[in-house]
């Protein structure tokens, strides 16, 4: 009797501790590799590090240099243009596709897969493919000219003013299928009786979508925007593959700027400063999201 009690308590102890023991290495790795290195990068951004880390603290000089750099201005304004257009167009196309697919059409499974497929290839593949499609001498321009329209011009890829829009095109192509899938899942979860009630009240299809269904999809919008905006801020490989930041540095995004300065140019301090600015950009989006999520789960 006495023995069984003791045995049970050992098992209980194990049961209580096992999850913690199993999680411990992961947690430790997270703390060191994520938060540790964030602190490390933050500290580096206040030093005059060039090729290797050097611990001479110089205050905000690297940030001053960063914001005085015309290339950083270009990268930031590109991010605004890219981010806004990419998110807006992806949402619009994704939503429209999802609504059309939701009309109980034939072959929905096949069509859905086709639209989702771009998500399966990496940004590098997308970038390389669109580089060929948009190249004036290989892609669309040449094709239309070969059809007989010899004055046709489509040169965004090689135009300093327009190059950033080619990145929007490729990114939208890649991501709108994914947004469609999110909206489709949302639409399917809308209670049928609500739509029927709207129909009985005499609402047109347009009215029932606008006044009933879309408001219900609000959380889906929110998740889609958060996911798309951090894709936008992290974008690096797409730019590298599609335009290489060019022509000149006209299509640079902050991530490309950071890589160039930290690793190619031996200006680790400026690179770290730009990484910190990017981190705060992500946080500015993530914190409200987390806040609303946590508040939501408390309420539920």
């Amino acid at each position: 009797m006495h023995q069984t009690v003791k045995k049970q308590s050992v098992l209980d102890l194990l049961e209580a501790w096992l999850p913690k023991i199993i999680m411990a290495p992961t947690t430790l790795a997270m703390i060191v590799c994520m938060y540790g290195f964030i602190v490390w990068t933050g500290a580096l951004s206040f030093t005059k590090s060039r090729m290797l880390p050097q611990w001479d603290f110089v205050g905000f000089i690297q940030y001053e240099k960063l914001f005085a750099n015309p290339r950083w201005d270009v990268a930031i304004s590109n991010l605004v243009v890219f981010g806004v257009l990419f998110i807006a167009i992806s949402l619009l196309i994704g939503l429209v596709l999802a609504i059309f697919l939701d009309q109980k059409i034939r072959g929905e499974g096949a069509i859905r897969t086709i639209y989702l497929y771009p998500m399966a290839v990496s940004f590098v593949v997308t970038g390389t493919a669109w580089k060929w499609i948009l190249n004036p001498g290989l892609g669309i321009e040449k094709m239309v000219r070969d059809f007989g329209f010899t004055d046709f011009e489509f040169r965004w890829l090689v135009d300093q003013e327009m190059a950033i829009y080619t990145i929007v095109i490729a990114a939208v192509w890649q991501s709108s299928g994914f947004v469609m899938a999110m909206f489709l899942a949302g639409l399917r979860s809308v209670d049928d009786s609500l739509i029927k009630a709207a129909q009985i009240d005499g609402a047109s299809a347009w009215q029932s979508y606008w006044h009933v269904i879309l408001p219900i999809l609000r959380p889906v919008f929110f998740s889609a925007i958060v996911i798309l905006s951090h894709i936008a801020i992290k974008s690096f490989d797409l730019v590298q593959a599609l335009t290489g930041g060019g022509p000149g540095y006209a299509s640079d995004l902050p991530a490309n700027f950071m890589y160039t300065f930290a690793f190619n140019r031996a200006q680790m301090g400026i690179g770290a400063a730009s990484a910190m600015v990017m981190l705060f950009g992500v946080l500015a989006i993530l914190v409200p999201y987390l806040y609303s999520e946590l508040r939501g789960s408390n309420r539920g």
Binding site: M51, N135, L157, Q160, G244, G246, P247, N264, A266
Partner: protein, 415 residues
């Protein structure tokens, strides 16, 4: 239990550190493609003859950015390789950080001061002591031309920038692309450098782009440089942005374009296509730079080693690198010329002969200048700033005056 696992850790660590043989060099480099890999293999075999084993530490990736990242992490963790491919002012940066080993005794014994031109040996020294050994010399200011296209267009190969504009117009009117170019930042900068040397001359080049003298940078010569550089925009086809340099070279090879301005590594592309120098293609100095030579020297820098055996292996390697045998084999494969002066020339082609002649004569006349577009002249931050301005200018319709103002501002900010 804990003790045992700590012991196991130590055992594992010592296993990693153990296989250091009597005499071995571990060499970090990024010469992994065809001719380059062959060149490295020749160094490996000549070292093996001397009983030094070669541990290859190749990190692929064109400009060596990946290799540099690996090198930094190895150096910071206190375990640098024996030697690494480092060039130009980066050697000074590594020297300042206290990582490099002096190989001055090898240099003295083999009279490096006598066989290397002063401008090259200066780059190899940190505080007056040799810490690196040069393997080759690339001439960057070359103009590669397809004579067939010139004949068809009734044009002649230009020797000045003013003449270049005239001839390029003729070529363009005949329906060819005048200047084959790849719109990547470093290629824009390579052309910019040729214009700087051709328009401003070696004196101006050195003052403005090596010593970063503000008076020279603010002079009217800089306006002229940007004016000529800007005029070149019209002679490039619309598809240029993002194009790789070897694709541009192939446009010259197959007669689509007439000229390309590129370093002598372009010769390898002509050779692979089975073209002969002098008949199928012509190599001349870029317009206005026949008495100038922008050099790009690859070198191996040596890292401090505590192990005596490793130190002696390191010295053997340094000696081999400047040996006549390696200098010849390596450069025949790579398309460059030996860094060592006074070598036998029989096996090299005519372009290499021209390059060697220019190397010797410009070393005396003062026309031998380090290439800023290829990381030989100024520290990384400044070189990057110049690249940004050059590529931004070339891809926009900025006026020469604005280009100059941007250049001055960018260099000042980066210093």
């Amino acid at each position: 239990m804990l003790n045992r696992s700590i012991a196991a850790c130590f055992a594992a660590a010592s296993l990693v550190a153990l296989p250091v043989q009597a005499s071995e060099v571990e060499v970090l480099h990024w010469w992994t493609s065809g001719g380059e890999a062959k060149s490295v293999a020749s160094l490996k075999s000549s070292l093996q003859k001397r009983g030094v084993s070669w541990q290859d530490f190749a990190v692929a990736g064109g400009g060596g950015e990946n290799a540099m990242t690996v090198l930094k992490s190895r150096a910071v963790s206190g375990n640098p390789p024996t030697a690494a491919q480092i060039k130009g002012p980066d050697i000074q940066e590594w020297g300042e950080l206290g990582f490099l080993a002096s190989i001055d005794d090898v240099a003295k014994k083999n009279n490096w001061d006598g066989v290397l031109p002063g401008v090259v040996s200066d780059v190899m020294k940190y505080q007056g002591k040799y810490v690196a050994a040069p393997v080759n010399v690339h001439r960057v200011n070359w103009l590669w031309a397809n004579p067939e296209v010139f004949r068809k267009a009734g044009a002649s190969i230009p020797t000045t920038w003013a003449d270049f504009m005239v001839q390029a117009k003729k070529i363009q009117d005949a329906g060819y692309i005048a200047l084959a170019h790849g719109g990547q930042a470093w290629q824009d900068n390579t052309v910019f450098e040729a214009v700087v040397l051709g328009v401003g001359g070696a004196e101006y080049y050195k003052k403005a782009f090596v010593e970063l003298d503000m008076k020279a940078l603010n002079s009217s010569t800089t306006d002229e440089v940007f004016k000529v550089f800007g005029e070149l925009r019209q002679f490039i086809d619309a598809n240029a942005p993002g194009r790789d340099w070897n694709v541009a070279t192939s446009m010259v090879i197959n007669g689509e374009a007439a000229m390309q301005i590129m370093g002598d590594w372009a010769k390898g592309e002509f050779a692979v296509a089975g073209k002969n120098a002098g008949t199928d293609f012509v190599c001349v100095a870029a317009p206005g730079t026949s008495d100038g030579f922008t050099f790009n020297v690859d070198s191996f820098a040596f890292f401090q080693q505590s192990d005596v055996n490793k130190q002696s292996a390191q010295k053997a390697m340094a000696e081999e690198i400047l040996g006549t045998n390696f200098q010849e084999v390596f450069n025949l494969n790579k398309g460059s010329i030996p860094a060592r002066l006074g070598m036998a020339r029989a096996k090299f082609d005519t372009c290499a002969h021209d390059s060697m002649n220019a190397f010797v004569s410009t070393a005396q006349s003062g026309g031998l200048v380090p290439s800023f577009a290829h990381g030989m002249a100024v520290p990384g931050a400044v070189a990057g700033a110049i690249t940004d301005v050059a590529t931004n200018y070339f891809n926009s319709d900025t006026s020469p005056a604005d280009g100059k103002a941007q250049l001055v501002a960018a260099i000042q900010a980066a210093m």
